[in-house]
C-alpha cells in the first residue's frame, strides 16, 4: 500500500488534533472499487458537507466512518481512538463485535430513510440506546429524551408510533434519537432526500441549530444552498475519490475543479 496522501485540512486555523480522521479508506463491492484511498480530517465543532453525484462514494465513505461498511484498507481515528481495530504484533486486528458496538455509540447517524424502530413509540425509540447500551435508568433517560424532543419541536408526539408521523417529523425524531447517545460526531446520510419538499425546511432547521450549537457534523447532502450557508467546508467526491475540498463559501463561484463546477452548475 502506498503511503496515504496526508493532505492537511484546508481550514489551517486548527492547531489541535482533528476529532475524526480517515486515512486511505479503500472499499470494494464485488469487483467494483467504490472508494480509492479516501482521507479526511474533521475538527471539533466543524461542519463538513460531502457533495458529489450519486454513486460517487460519499454515502459509502460516511458508512465506513462508523463501521457500518468495513473498509478493506485504511483506518478511522476518533478522538485518538482507532475505530474497529487494534494493533497487535505489528498487525491491525478487527475488534470483537461487543467492543465495536461500544465504539460506535460515539458516532451518531441519521439515515435517509429515518429507520425509526417501527414497533416502538417515539419516546421508546429515543430511550432505547441510552437505557440498553449506556445503562441509564429509564426514568432519567425519558426526562432527557423529552428535552431532546422539545428541541426538535416534537414534545407532543412522545407516545406516537413512527407510522403516525410525517417524514419530516420522523427524521427529527431520528435526530433526537442519535443525540440521546451524546455522540462526538453526527453523521447525516442524505437526511432530506426522502422528504416531501415542504418538510425539508423543518429538518434543515434542526440540523442548522445543531451546527450552530457546536456539534461536529459530516453531512452527505444534495442541498448545496444549505451546505453553503451552514457548513464550514465542502468536500467534493467523484468516482470514489475526493477531487476538491475548500471553504463552503467557495461553493457559489469559487470551485476550482471542473467536475465540481459542472456538478454545481447543475444543482444550483
Amino acid at each position: 500500500m502506498t503511503t496515504a496522501n496526508v493532505t492537511p485540512p484546508v481550514g489551517e486555523k486548527h492547531t489541535d488534533a482533528p476529532l475524526i480522521s480517515a486515512r486511505g479508506i479503500c472499499k470494494t463491492f464485488g469487483t467494483h472499487q467504490v472508494l480509492h484511498d479516501v482521507s479526511l480530517d474533521v475538527h471539533r465543532g466543524e461542519a463538513v458537507c460531502l457533495l458529489g453525484r450519486s454513486g460517487s462514494g460519499k454515502s459509502t465513505f460516511l458508512r465506513c466512518l462508523n463501521l457500518l461498511e468495513r473498509a478493506e484498507r485504511g483506518i478511522v481515528m476518533l478522538d485518538g481512538e482507532l475505530l474497529g481495530h487494534h494493533v497487535r504484533h505489528g498487525r491491525v486486528h478487527r475488534l470483537p463485535a461487543r467492543q465495536e458496538a461500544a465504539q460506535r455509540q460515539q458516532l451518531g447517524m441519521v439515515f435517509q430513510q429515518f429507520n425509526l424502530f417501527a414497533h416502538k413509540t417515539v419516546l421508546d425509540n429515543v430511550i432505547e440506546a441510552p437505557v440498553r447500551v449506556a445503562g441509564r435508568k429509564p426514568r432519567e433517560a425519558a426526562k432527557d429524551a423529552v428535552q431532546l424532543l422539545e428541541r426538535v419541536g416534537l414534545a407532543d408526539k412522545v407516545k406516537a408510533y413512527p407510522g403516525q408521523l410525517s417524514g419530516g417529523q420522523q427524521q427529527r425524531v431520528a435526530i433526537a434519537r442519535a443525540l440521546a447517545m451524546k455522540p462526538k460526531v453526527l453523521l447525516f446520510d442524505e437526511p432530506t432526500s426522502a422528504l416531501d419538499p415542504e418538510m425539508v425546511t423543518e429538518v434543515l432547521q434542526v440540523i442548522r441549530s445543531l451546527v450552530l450549537g457546536g456539534m461536529t457534523t459530516i453531512i452527505v447532502t444534495h442541498e448545496v444552498g444549505f451546505a453553503r450557508e451552514v457548513c464550514d467546508r465542502f468536500v467534493f467526491m467523484q468516482d470514489g475519490r475526493i477531487v476538491e475540498e475548500g471553504p463552503a463559501s467557495r461553493l457559489t463561484e469559487g470551485a476550482e475543479h471542473p467536475s465540481t463546477r459542472d456538478f454545481l452548475s447543475k444543482v444550483l
Binding site: 455509540q105 429507520n115 406516537a160 407510522g163
Partner: protein, 318 residues
C-alpha cells in the same frame, strides 16, 4: 406546444361567448339529473343461486340433525365424561409441549440458517431437509422405538455419570412430543427465517449505529418485528399440529381421539363418540383462532395506531 395552447384558448373563448344562455339550462338539467335517487338493482342470477344454495345447505343440515345415527343425546352424555376429559388434557399438553419445543428449536435453526458460519448453515439446512422428508407417522413410530437403536442413554457427567434404560425414559408420550416438536421445528424455522428477513435492513443498521450489540439488536429490534409477521403462519402451524396429534393413537397415547376410540370399541357407539372428539377439536381450534386474533391485535398496535391516526386526521379535516 404554442400552437396547441393558442388553439385551446380559441376554443375556450368561443365556448364562453356562444354558449352563455344555453349554459344555464344545461347546468339546471345536470343538477336535476344528479338529484334523481338511485334505484336498487335486482340481481336475478345471483339471487337464484343463493336461494338454491340455501336450500341445499338447509336440506343437508336437516338430514344431519334428523339422522338417528348421530345419537345426539349420547354425544352429550359422553361430552364431559372422565376419559374424554383426560384425553382432552393429553391432547392439549402434547400440543403445547411440542409447539414449545418447536418454537425454541426453530428460532435457533432460523438463526443458524442466516448465520455467516457455513457449517451452522449446512447443519440447519440438513435438519430441515431431514425432518421435512420423513412422514410424521414414520417419525412418531421411529421415536417410539428409539430404544431398538440406542438401548441405553448415558450422560457422561463427572464421576460415573448417569445411565438410563432408553425404554424407561422414552415413554409413548415423550416420544410423541419429540416427534411432533422436532418435525414442527423444521417447518416453523422456515417461517421464522422468512419473517426475520422481512424486517427492513435499515432497522438493524439504525440499531448498530446506536451502539447496540448483535444479541440486543436481535432481541429488542428484529425479533419483535419478525414475530408480528410470523404470527398468522405460525398459528396455522399450531392448529395443524393440534389436529395432527391425533396420530398418537398409533402408539396408544390416550389423547382425545384414542380415548373415544377406546370407548366405542367397547360400546360400538362409533358415530356419537367421533362427534364428541370432532366438537372438542372444533372448540379448541376456535379458541386458538381467537387467541391468534388477540395476539395479532396486540403485536400490531403500532400499525393500528397508524390507522386510527389516519382516521382521526380525516375526521378532524372533515
Amino acid at each position: 406546444m404554442s400552437e396547441i395552447v393558442t388553439m385551446r384558448d380559441q376554443a375556450r373563448t368561443t365556448d364562453s361567448t356562444a354558449a352563455a344562455a344555453p349554459a344555464a339550462a344545461w347546468n339546471r338539467r345536470l343538477e336535476e339529473l344528479a338529484a334523481v335517487p338511485r334505484a336498487r338493482r335486482f340481481h336475478v342470477a345471483r339471487s337464484l343461486m343463493a336461494l338454491l344454495l340455501v336450500l341445499a345447505v338447509g336440506r343437508l343440515a336437516w338430514s344431519l340433525a334428523q339422522n338417528p345415527a348421530f345419537e345426539w343425546s349420547r354425544v352429550w352424555d359422553y361430552f364431559f365424561s372422565a376419559p374424554v376429559m383426560k384425553g382432552l388434557e393429553n391432547t392439549i399438553t402434547l400440543t403445547a409441549l411440542s409447539m414449545g419445543l418447536a418454537l425454541v428449536v426453530s428460532v435457533a435453526l432460523a438463526n443458524m440458517r442466516l448465520s455467516d458460519n457455513p457449517v451452522l448453515r449446512a447443519i440447519a439446512g440438513f435438519y430441515v431437509w431431514f425432518f421435512r422428508s420423513v412422514p410424521l407417522l414414520v417419525l412418531l413410530i421411529l421415536w417410539f422405538n428409539i430404544s431398538l437403536i440406542y438401548p441405553t442413554f448415558a450422560i457422561p457427567f463427572p464421576g460415573d455419570g448417569w445411565s438410563y434404560e432408553t425404554r424407561d425414559l422414552m415413554t409413548a408420550y415423550w416420544s410423541a412430543v419429540l416427534a411432533f416438536g422436532l418435525q414442527q421445528a423444521a417447518y416453523t424455522s422456515e417461517i421464522i427465517r422468512s419473517s426475520l428477513l422481512a424486517v427492513p435492513h435499515g432497522q438493524r443498521e439504525a440499531a448498530l449505529a446506536l451502539g447496540m450489540r448483535p444479541t440486543q439488536i436481535f432481541r429488542r429490534i428484529v425479533f419483535p418485528q419478525a414475530m408480528k409477521i410470523a404470527v398468522p403462519p405460525v398459528s396455522n402451524d399450531l392448529i395443524n399440529l393440534l389436529k395432527a396429534t391425533a396420530l398418537v393413537a398409533f402408539i396408544s397415547v390416550p389423547d382425545l381421539l384414542y380415548s373415544v376410540q377406546q370407548i366405542y370399541n367397547r360400546t360400538f357407539e362409533v358415530v356419537p363418540l367421533l362427534m364428541v372428539a370432532t366438537i372438542w377439536y372444533m372448540i379448541m381450534v376456535s379458541i386458538l383462532s381467537v387467541g391468534q386474533y388477540l395476539l395479532e391485535r396486540w403485536l400490531g398496535r403500532s400499525a393500528a395506531a397508524r390507522a386510527n391516526g389516519r382516521l382521526s386526521k380525516q375526521r378532524s379535516a372533515a
